[in-house]
Amino acid sequence: MKSVLYIIVGTFLGVILYKSEAASWFRIYEMFQFDSFHMYGIIGSALAVGIVLVQWIKRSQVRSFFGEPIRIEEKERSFARYIIGGTLFGLGWALGGACPGPIYILVGAGYWPILIVLFGAVLGAFVYGFLRDKLPH
């Protein structure tokens, strides 16, 4: 039953990102050119609603649907890994026009060349895991 729920949530996400064109290479390019409010509106309104919902979840100490306490993990403190990793991701995001979520979504939409991007992304994750101990964090 839980499995079906995760698939439904994913399907919902896929439709939202496809239909809002957040999965379009063109929208990402347009965002970095500051030519349209569209992507900023999506991220901004997601954040506005997200901040309220997350603060409510934390303050009300509501339990999960399955009765467990909810723990929102804090990211570890660092500067180097976020700025270097973030910049590298940004370069790839603008070039390929897709972040990980949209990569999966575009596979479903039938844009087969995105499989090359997916392969590159898995390879990149692998190389990171391999070099992890040698990189500044």
Partner: protein, 185 residues
């Protein structure tokens, strides 16, 4: 309405809803960690302990990925009669100058994402490099747009703000400095 492109003020709050539902299911909203799970499935644990994780604990997120693939299929084949993305005129002009004739008429540029384009080694390398940067960068930064820009910032975490600033530094360098070199002339 359903068949038209969805406006930002519908999409943004719905994305926040997806994140909240995942949190209320005791999980989190993060798409890039699945890339590591794929490495584990592919046997990367043989090379470094970093990938020696119990796949069962990651199964839920793989199901979200499966759902996204289904969602992409529905979005493209059932809900969208017209794939053209109506980007701004200014953007279309800039892209035409860079050689992207498909700007404004397609969902993805056919110059990069069509099967004909794939026969060009330069396009193949470009897509591979883009993917590599996405995979390496997100794992180094510990998250992508979903994990940092949406989830992390919603939780008001400073690390996510640094990461998102990095996303924009990288994206702006790519689009403004490197695109003219890669696609221009």
């Amino acid at each position: 309405m359903l068949y038209q492109p969805w406006p930002w003020y519908i999409a943004g709050p719905l994305i926040a809803l997806v994140m909240s539902v995942l949190i209320l299911m005791g999980k989190r909203f993060g798409m890039s960690s699945n890339l590591e799970t794929f490495c584990t499935i592919g046997g990367a644990g043989k090379f470094t302990d970093y990938f020696k994780v119990d796949i069962k604990s990651k199964r839920w997120n793989l199901l979200v990925v499966l759902g996204s693939v289904i969602g992409g299929f529905l979005g493209a084949n059932v809900l969208s009669p017209n794939p053209g993305v109506q980007i701004s005129e200014k953007t279309v002009t800039k892209l035409n100058e860079l050689g992207f004739e498909s700007a404004g008429t397609a969902y993805l540029p056919t110059e990069l994402f069509s099967l004909e384009a794939l026969t060009k080694p330069s396009v193949l390398i470009l897509l591979l490099v883009a993917g590599f940067l996405v995979g390496f960068g997100t794992r180094y930064a510990g998250g992508c747009t979903s994990g940092h820009a949406i989830s992390g910032l919603s939780n008001l975490q400073r690390p996510s703000l640094i990461a998102v600033i990095g996303f924009f530094i990288g994206g702006l360098i790519m689009v403004h400095l490197l695109f003219p070199l890669i696609f221009g002339s």
